[in-house]
């Protein structure tokens, strides 16, 4: 094809349009890319997700006097409340070597998951301005949201470890000290990160389609919190073996268990390779299924 002086007339059929586009090397917009292309493109644009995540973490606390300090203060205060009510007053963790550490680890890890789920669910709607102005794989939005939460989790983890050490000073606490097992916290966080991103993918698509479901999410997360033994040991309170097994091997409970294996010395939470296999399995499964599920609606995000 060469240059013309007048624009071509509009194509008369879909085939004519496709043929003309093909001849001029154009690509169709508003259609879903293949999964392969999508994975590639998501990976190629990962810097975009990192920048968005970093900016979000920063923007979250910038309107306060204490600023970034809140990234540490909020989870610390949260843990304090739970320890006070469920550990000290109701004594739900009586019988554990370190009941306070038990609750602290549970609250910090669960908070990361629930914030990721909540944020991931809203990630497309919250960034509608971006979606409507720029081209990028929409999968980067849930990814960036969970990445931002991971960014806040890192300082929180230091608080968590510090709190476990401080709680060990109490006379009632039996504590084995800091050992190599603490390093296991790294894979535990990696697995819960994969899992949370998978959940964020799924919720992002569903809530974008039916925003009302976003309003139900807090209740689901609250139920899940009590079903995962965040503030009490499951094996001590659930006596039905089938129910106890379901509750202990569902992903969230598995990740709490892994983090507690790493940091605490509890006879009822021994180092257990099977649990680590469950953790890795759940993480990869949710991540892959969530990604594919999200990709299937790629061409539809932002319609409204």
């Amino acid at each position: 094809m060469t240059t013309t002086s007048a624009p071509l007339p509009p194509p008369e059929s879909p085939e004519a349009a496709a043929a003309l586009a093909e001849a001029s090397g154009l690509r169709q917009v508003g259609v879903r890319p293949t999964l392969r292309e999508y994975v590639k493109e998501t990976w190629r644009r990962r810097e975009f997700a990192q920048t968005l995540a970093r900016s979000t973490v920063f923007a979250e606390n910038q309107n306060t006097y204490l600023g970034q300090l809140w990234a540490v203060l909020t989870p610390a205060m949260n843990a304090f409340v739970y320890v006070l009510i469920f550990g000290v007053i109701l004594q739900l963790t009586r019988g554990q070597n370190n009941g306070i550490g038990f609750i602290i680890v549970g609250v910090f890890m669960y908070r990361f998951f629930s914030e990721s789920a909540t944020g991931g669910a809203k990630s497309v709607q919250k960034n509608l301005n971006l979606v409507r102005a720029l081209h990028f794989p929409r999968s980067l939005l849930p990814i960036a949201t969970v990445l931002a939460n991971l960014g806040s989790l890192v300082p929180a983890l230091f608080v968590m470890c510090g709190a476990v050490l401080v709680s060990a000073l109490l006379p009632s606490v039996k504590f084995g000290g800091v050992d190599w097992e603490w390093l296991l916290l790294v894979p535990a966080v990696l697995f819960i990160y994969l899992f949370s991103t998978g959940v964020a993918f799924m919720l992002a698509r569903v809530v974008e389609r039916v925003p009302d479901l976003g309003n139900l999410l807090p209740f689901v997360l609250r139920v899940l919190m009590y079903m995962s033994g965040v503030i009490f040991p499951i094996d001590r309170y659930i006596h039905d073996p089938a129910l106890a097994a379901i509750m202990s091997y569902q992903p969230v409970a598995v990740y709490l268990n892994l983090a507690r294996q790493a940091l605490l010395d509890e006879p009822n939470i021994p180092l257990d390779p099977a649990m680590w296999a469950w953790g890795a399995g759940w993480g990869v499964l949710f991540f892959v299924v969530g990604f594919v599920f999200f990709w299937r609606a790629e061409a539809r995000y932002g319609r409204e």
Partner: protein, 289 residues
């Protein structure tokens, strides 16, 4: 044109006309039978304000507007056209004729309900909402916008000063964009979007908020893009700016193309139509703006 229907821009403010004699390149956008619908939540038609209705009836009617209210808007209904490299196309029409929706769909940012759109490269759309992420500083918005346009971090840092200079926002680049005036935000967005020369640039009213000096600069940038074989789409209510910026015009009326051709011809037709509407005395404010 006889009666001036432009309130925003004085004719002498405008830079020279786009030169329409340039040769057209290959097609850059092919659109066939494009339909776009979108969902609007919580926007059922308001019940007629009849005073005689009983309290209960009014209450129920009101309730329906608050729960389960979803409206489908069919904004673009079967649009087809071909655009070429080196063309700048003005899209004109009254408020609510589907201009912005058409642009978003062609840019691939709003999925079509029916029909097909083919485009060259990665289009860049300048919308009315200029800030990408309002809570973030101009600096971070430049970073995000540049990355999404396919620039690398190093390339963005290299062009950073140029972008800030072009936008003319100075130290405000460190402030969150929620603190920007609409003019500042629009200028920054324009600078970001043209930092990498896009194959297809779409401008949706975004320049209306700029001052005269900025309009001159942006006009020069648009010409540059056109000469680099880009295609520019331009939505504006100001017929004078469409005449000055564009070589071709598409007149959209209630989601359908009413006319498509050389800018002067179409603009005259549209001006005539608006005048008639005006004298018919209906919707005058709507149409004339």
């Amino acid at each position: 044109m006889s009666e001036d229907i432009d309130f925003e821009i004085d004719a002498e403010d405008l830079p020279d006309r786009a030169d329409g004699t340039a040769q057209l390149g290959e097609p850059s956008v092919v659109v066939h039978d494009l339909h776009v619908t979108y969902r609007v939540f919580g926007s059922k038609r308001r019940p007629l304000p009849v005073g005689k209705q009983s309290r209960l009836r009014r209450f129920l009617a009101k309730g329906r507007t608050y729960a389960g209210a979803v409206t489908e808007v069919h904004a673009v209904r079967g649009v087809s056209f071909v655009a070429h490299h080196g063309e700048s196309i003005g899209i004109i029409g009254t408020n609510g004729s589907g201009k912005s929706t058409l642009l978003r769909a062609v840019a691939g940012l709003h999925p079509p309900t029916q029909g097909s759109v083919y485009i060259s490269g990665v289009p860049s759309l300048l919308g009315v909402n200029a800030a990408l992420v309002k809570q973030l500083s101009g600096e971070r918005n430049i970073m995000l916008g540049g990355l999404a346009l396919g620039l690398s971090k190093a390339e963005i840092e290299e062009r950073f000063d140029e972008i800030v200079d072009f936008a003319g926002i100075g130290d405000a680049v460190q402030l969150p964009m929620s603190a920007y005036s609409s003019g500042m935000a629009a200028r920054l967005r324009f600078a970001i979007s043209t930092a990498a020369v896009p194959d297809v640039l779409m401008i949706d009213e975004a320049l209306a908020t700029g001052d005269a000096a900025f309009r001159k600069r942006s006009k020069a940038r648009i010409e540059e893009i056109r000469h680099a074989a880009g295609t520019v789409f331009f939505v504006s209510h100001s017929l004078a700016s469409v005449r000055a910026m564009c070589t071709r015009a598409i007149w959209l009326d209630r989601g359908v193309i009413r006319a498509d051709g050389p800018v002067d011809e179409i603009a005259d037709m549209y001006a005539q139509y608006v005048k008639e509407l005006h004298s018919a005395g209906k919707d005058d404010r709507d149409a004339a703006q």
